[in-house]
Symmetry: C2
């Protein structure tokens, strides 16, 4: 790691390191002539400041962390783009950290931020996260945190979320309008905000239509897609099986397609389906998938904006709620 340092530039130009440092940061106390000489040499030698020295000295890293369950999900990959679109502009690096839906991993990741590695954290919690203590612990160290999409009620940090309950209510109502009489709900672990809120919306719609939500129509799916598939097939094999499904997360839709295929059930004739999904190819599935689509990019950008505010010592709104868009395609009709 033979580096070009400020000291090297100083020696070369017979100037002091502080003069170089100031020139590089375009300080007004340095003459234009000197600045030019310094900048020219720096460019020629491909000088690049050592980020660790700057961070150590300045006690800030200009890094922020994006802590998410996984990356193989359209919502998160779009949200990442939204986040980086604002952080980049502000001169911050974004470090993507994956929890793989594991509470322990998430705790370990946040614990590793107790030392100034990042100046702020954007997080969407894992499906197995049981409490917000680890996030509060980080905040107690003075690290600004913003939650997005999958939030936790017991964390006093700004949150960017979708109107999950209303969206799920609309989605369920759509299936009811199309004649469904028994609708199942596929969620993730019930302690997850998005899962709970979407479930609440689903139940509200049922009640509004004088149906009683039944526990056996409500599935909590986990990380194992094989097991999830089995559970869905079991659900659809009952004699009085559901004729409609509201799926709360993207990765469950393909499983419903597969289960129906294997059980020779037709979508939408036998089972109608609508799914929360940012999948670009929803319209290309056969039959095309009706979706509730969150504005993923915007949510990421908004969350990053709030974090920037927080890091600048300013106050930020504690809750931003954005609307999801319901797109009716073939699977629900």
């Amino acid at each position: 790691m033979r580096q070009v340092t400020i000291k090297a530039l100083a020696r070369e130009l017979r100037l002091s390191v502080s003069t170089i440092s100031k020139a590089l940061r375009d300080s007004h106390e340095i003459s234009d002539a000197t600045k030019r000489r310094v900048l020219e040499l720096a460019a020629r030698l491909n000088y690049s400041p050592n980020p660790y020295a700057s961070s150590l000295r300045g006690r800030k890293s200009r890094n922020i962390a994006i802590v998410i369950p996984e990356v193989a999900d359209s919502f998160f990959s779009l949200a990442i783009n939204g986040i980086t679109s604002v952080t980049k502009e502000k001169g911050y690096h974004s470090i993507i950290c994956l929890t793989h839906e594991d509470y322990k991993d998430e705790q370990d990741i946040l614990k590793a931020f107790h030392n100034g590695r990042v100046d702020g954290v954007l997080i969407s919690v894992s499906g197995t996260t049981e409490s917000g203590a680890h996030i509060r612990g980080l905040m107690d160290q003075g690290v600004p945190v913003v939650l997005f999409d999958r939030v936790l009620p017991d964390v006093p940090a700004p949150k960017v979320v979708t109107d999950d309950a209303a969206s799920a209510r609309n989605a369920t109502q759509l299936l009811l309008d199309h004649g469904c009489r028994r609708i199942a709900f596929l969620g993730l672990s019930p302690q997850l905000s998005i899962s709970a809120d979407r479930l609440a919306g689903y139940e509200a719609a049922l009640r509004e239509n004088h149906y009683q939500p039944k526990a056996k129509d409500i599935l909590s799916c986990g990380a194992g897609q094989q097991q999830n598939l089995l559970a869905i097939k079991k659900l659809l094999r009952q004699k009085d099986r559901p004729d409609g499904i509201v799926a709360a997360v993207e990765k469950l839709a393909p499983l419903v397609y597969q289960a129906c295929n294997e059980l020779s059930l037709r979508i939408p004739e036998d089972v109608k389906l609508i799914c929360f999904s940012s999948l670009e190819i929803a319209g290309i599935l056969q039959p095309s998938l009706s979706t509730v689509t969150q504005p993923a990019f915007e949510m990421g950008a908004k969350a990053a904006g709030l974090l920037m505010k927080l890091m600048a010592g300013k106050r930020a709104e504690m809750e931003v709620v954005v609307s999801a868009e319901l797109t009716e395609r073939v699977s629900s009709g």
Copy 2:
């Protein structure tokens, strides 16, 4: 950023900072009793070493970079998991950097590594990358680099690739065996190794079967999915349209489905399709998608392993070629 530092521990225990440091690193010069006291206090105060100080002092960051075009692609998301499975174990952090298929972005990212920010780089180049100069420039600074999947011939670094030409040849042969007489090839920019190699395999298969590859049957797709769709539709609207398609990257498959839908062409009756893809849901698409699947996780893990070797100052194989798996489903038949 009120931090627990070594100095704080030293003050608390009335020991010197160097003793604390040694105790924390389990040095043999420190008594067991002292070690225990130090470790106990460190745990109690939630001490976490400042990574910037360590990196500055030790002139190594224990960070590696994963530089890839995008994350919304099954191959890359799986490869990331493969990479982190080995880096994590070795105590390295992985920083994911997205080039968005942009050469300039890729250059900027690598340039930012000329200062010790990372100890090594894993890279799969963007579709618009024109030369390996920026990578060689980084290597000249002494930063170890390993390329995977999308490699560059003019970079003297270890590479982990799939047997692209052979796989494409087999895929093309499969379509020929199923009666295709005019097969199109959808690739990315021709300067991309995977695109060029897969194209070569496709052409070889055609020639072996006494067909002459035709330029107008070979499409170079870019970053814009809308334009790609248009190009595919134009291809399929010809009177003497192709009756088979070999698609070189995952994101092109949905476009072919959509184009066929819009043009009322049936897959596989009118157009047979096989695609390089690590998509988990390939089997659930309608019709199910025949695929050439690369061992993405393993490739990531292997590449990371080579990088670890390089960073340890050891020599590493210059080329590792792994086999892709052809899975025949409905779309090709």
